[in-house]
Amino acid sequence: MREHAWRVFAGEYSEANHFLKGEEKTPSYVITPLGAKINRLYLVGVLTDVENVAQEGEMWRARISDPTGIYTVYAGQYQPEAANVLSEASVPSYVAIVGKARVYEPEEGVVYTSVRAEKVKEVDVDVRDRWIVETAKHTKKRIDAVQEAMQMHPPSINKLKEIGYPSSLAEGVIEAISFYKDIDTEHYIFLIREALSYLTSGKKEFMEEIGEAEEKILEIVKECEGEKGALWDEIVEKGEKEGLERDLVEEALASLMDKGLIYEPVLGRLKTT
């Protein structure tokens, strides 16, 4: 059965300290505090660093950041396609990675998680944004599952499945509870908020900028309007001199018109109301 790809934020993945090592025919799994039972994962983030860390031959190590932390991704001689893409990718750029969960345990109890790439591709911001939303959804689901399980005495895989959780998650959650004991779900709710506000804050900042620009533009219109009204082009020119980009000026003018603070008495001229 093909192992499905988990969607996990870097914050959750790097906090995993539990590894189920597979035997002959069973795969290995990283168990995160939220019960993700990861053999394969899918992540999209910003490539911030790529380096060949092998002494001989090739072992590319890449750092990919998402709003909550950093993933360490490796691609070596046995992953030629992935290694190739990483070595030639521009920094920074958005990349999508499908890969296998890996750990490095230098001493007992100290676990570093990383990803061994299977597939790497440069993508656009839209793919990254979609991934953030999807991953937030899945993280919330895991938080719910952990909370439900912590209410059970004793926590049971079958009961979780009866509620409707997939067996892989049910198994992961029970394993997580037994290893991590007390799981701070509040911390992960904060993680989700952090990741999502990254998406919505972009818009917020823009709206704040408009507020300032609107004031400046309103002043400019008052200055230039005279009897007939200020010329559109003149407003834009003066605005640019004040350090406002053309786009911003036009947005501000549209917004001021929406608010009814200025109007167009004749085509091409603006006046304050």
Binding site: M1, R2, E3, H4, A5, W6, R7, Y42, V44, A96, V98, K119, K121, V123, D126, V127, D129, R130, I132, V133, E134, A136, K137, H138, K140, P166, S167, S168, L169, I189, I192, R193, L196, S197, L199, T200, K203
Partner: protein, 417 residues
């Protein structure tokens, strides 16, 4: 420690029947245990090492646990279905069905043709209980012996339970459903020397659709809304199939009970599809996380339609291939993954380009397809089949989805505030 394992050492000695000293067995067993080998496995390994044989175990079907070896069981074949699979490049015919006795009904897979028929009461010797979706499933191999018995047995009557179509899994017995007959076909089949009539097709409720086989003439027609009790769920090429015979009862309901508009094309998380083993007209939503090699331009054998490699068909030898277009993509929604197969028509629709409009070679075409759909979120519908390697979905409808990021983000934020 010695007392604990004394009984186990006894068991091992009995199975071995040879002149091996007790001390030697004890030492071996302790070593295995020290290495952390589970007791049951350790015993079996030692028995095999000293040339003994694990005894056969006769069990009732409800006693069977996953990983039981060398089972001997007796039961009635309640359902049987033939399937062609490809194992390591070889084509094999396997049989899937349901076996029932007075205690339980269990699914089985037979890797050899034992000339079984529905209705046969058999004694099966040397069978192994594998696992399928966390339930035991009997695996009849080349070393299994099947004896037909000239007796009848009363198959268990489980407490009846009502199920929605989407919940039906192969292995369930005494199920009650309410569904609308969407298609119906009457066929004559040979069961041994008897000619039997079977009525089959697809039926559905608001949660989904399922294939069915009725072994008695219940006078059903397309468009009927039926209330069926005491049916079984077998598997047809890996996906669930509702089977009902003279032991079942079928009541016709008013059309209003299940109007046609309600019949579901269910959009379910992929793990659900994997759990039930596939389905009819299922819909899923997931990301394309792999476009498999062999997607794009392929050449097919003009005789048998198989994809040929380097001008050679595995069945028909050197042939002139006919160009075809397909996509094999792994679609993953975070709960499970399916292999979505797009045929020529579906590929042309998704790519917005017809086969003869492609200018480049196969490698370029594969890359073009990957560039278009890799990492995209898609909604796909079609019939799904499961086997040991996973679930395959034959795409009948597909759409690349546009997600409203800010709307989705706001929705989740409101849930975590």
């Amino acid at each position: 420690m010695n007392d604990d394992i004394a009984k186990d050492v006894d068991e091992i000695l009995q199975a071995i029947n040879k002149g091996v000293s007790r001390e030697e067995i004890e030492e071996n067993l302790k070593k295995f245990i020290d290495y952390g080998v589970p007791l049951k496995q350790a015993k079996q390994a030692i028995i095999q090492k000293y040339g003994g044989s694990i005894p056969f175990q006769e069990k009732k079907l409800e006693e069977i646990k996953i990983d039981d070896k060398k089972l001997v069981v007796k039961g009635k074949i309640l359902a049987l279905d033939e399937r062609d699979v490809e194992v390591r490049g070889e084509h094999r015919k396997i049989f899937r069905g349901l076996l029932g006795d007075e205690t339980a009904v269990i699914p089985f897979t037979a890797w050899k043709d034992f000339n079984l028929q529905r209705g046969d009461v058999v004694r099966i010797k040397n069978v192994y209980a594998g696992e399928w979706n966390n339930q035991p499933r009997l695996n009849l191999s080349e070393w299994t012996e099947v004896e037909k018995l000239d007796e009848d047995i009363e198959v268990v009557q489980r407490k009846p339970r009502y199920y929605e179509i989407i919940e039906l899994k192969p292995g369930y017995s005494n199920v009650e459903v309410k569904a609308r007959v969407l298609t119906l076909e009457k066929r004559e089949v040979l069961i041994g020397e008897d000619k039997k009539t079977v009525y089959s097709g697809v039926m559905g409720d608001s949660t989904g659709k399922i294939r069915y086989s009725a072994w008695k003439d219940f006078d059903i027609n397309e468009g009927d809304v039926l209330h069926i009790t005491n049916a079984y769920v077998a598997s047809w090429r890996g996906s669930p199939q509702l089977v009902f015979d003279e032991k079942a009862s079928v009541e016709k309901l008013d059309d209003k009970e299940m109007p046609e508009e309600l019949i579901g094309k269910t959009c379910v998380p992929i793990f659900k599809i994997n759990e039930i083993g596939g389905g009819v007209d299922v819909c899923i939503e997931g990301d394309v996380i792999e476009v498999q090699k062999g997607s794009g331009l392929v050449l097919r054998c003009p005789k048998c339609n198989r994809v040929i490699k380097e001008g050679v068909c595995v069945i028909d030898g050197e042939v002139e291939g006919i160009p075809d277009l397909r996509i094999k993509a792994v679609v993953d929604d975070g709960t499970g993954a399916v292999m979505a197969i797009f045929n020529k028509e579906m590929t042309e629709r998704i790519m917005g380009k017809k086969l003869d409009e492609y200018q480049h070679d196969a490698e370029q075409i594969e890359k073009e397809i990957e560039d278009k759909i890799f990492t995209k979120t898609m909604s796909i519908c079609g019939d799904a089949f499961s086997d040991e390697y996973g679930t395959t979905l034959l795409v009948k409808e597909a759409e690349i989805l546009e997600i409203d990021i800010s709307q989705e983000a706001e929705k989740i934020l409101s849930e975590v505030e």
